[in-house]
Symmetry: C2
Subunit: 150 residues, 2 copies
């Protein structure tokens, strides 16, 4: 596709950036949906969701573009979608369900745990990107699951 | 200070970016040094280090500029310092010491744990920056400590 063809569809660079970011934040719930339909326990669903998201970050160009726009959002002169909030809610819901099922101790806080998981995922994928062009991302995310989830 | 005065000292924008990033990565070990001189157990030292780093990210303009350059490093046309590696080693050393002292189970992996702690810190400070201009950063980092460290 030529640059001209792209600008035929988007009024300007900012509109394009917002469209890519919106696509990025639409892909995350779509990945979550593929996990939700599987007959697995909620804690395994969190792990599976993180692994599938990591694979998407590693292989999907739209996700990579969205992650980069997220990171460089201060340079985009347009309101960008709020980051991570939906994804964090999704994980918090699964962790709350795990707690009801007795998979998590009553003392743990599913909301806090979800925020920490998402922070570790986001930081981990950024560090993996900078240091190893995301080649070790699946391994790093497996590590996050092992260290944070019981 | 005027823009002219800044460029009198730095050959170009790239040299300035590298200098700020180097200062940023020099400040982190300096914070670690203030923790190391205190008579506290290694696991408490990790928590204290994270809290002091969070405070610096919230209050220190040089740290904020360094964190932003780290995030936008793909836009800087110069070799930037390798991110987080020293800081991760520091935390891994403290966690290994905690393990020798019996504060961490023999089954835990101090290297993996340190990578996850640093990923969560980095992701957490970025999300806190975007969502709340880092106002809730101390709280978010306290959460990381509670969820990840035993």
């Amino acid at each position: 596709m030529t640059k001209g063809a792209v600008y035929f569809h988007f009024a300007n660079k900012e509109a394009l950036a917002v469209a890519v970011a919106e696509e990025f934040y639409a892909l995350l719930p779509a990945i979550a949906e593929t996990v939700r339909t599987e007959p697995i326990a909620p804690l395994d669903a969190v792990a599976e969701l993180l692994i599938r998201t990591a694979t998407a970050f590693r292989d999907n160009r739209m996700i990579q573009a969205g992650a980069r726009l997220q990171i460089e959002r201060h340079l985009v002169e347009a309101a960008m979608p709020t980051p991570f909030t939906e994804y964090t809610h999704l994980i918090a819901d699964l962790l709350a369900q795990a707690q009801s099922d007795g998979q998590l101790p009553a003392s743990s806080d599913p909301q806090a745990m979800a925020r920490v998981v998402v922070a570790a995922f986001f930081g981990g994928q950024h560090i993996s990107w900078v240091l190893h062009d995301r080649k070790d991302l699946a391994e790093r995310v497996r590590e996050i699951i092992d260290v944070i989830l019981p």
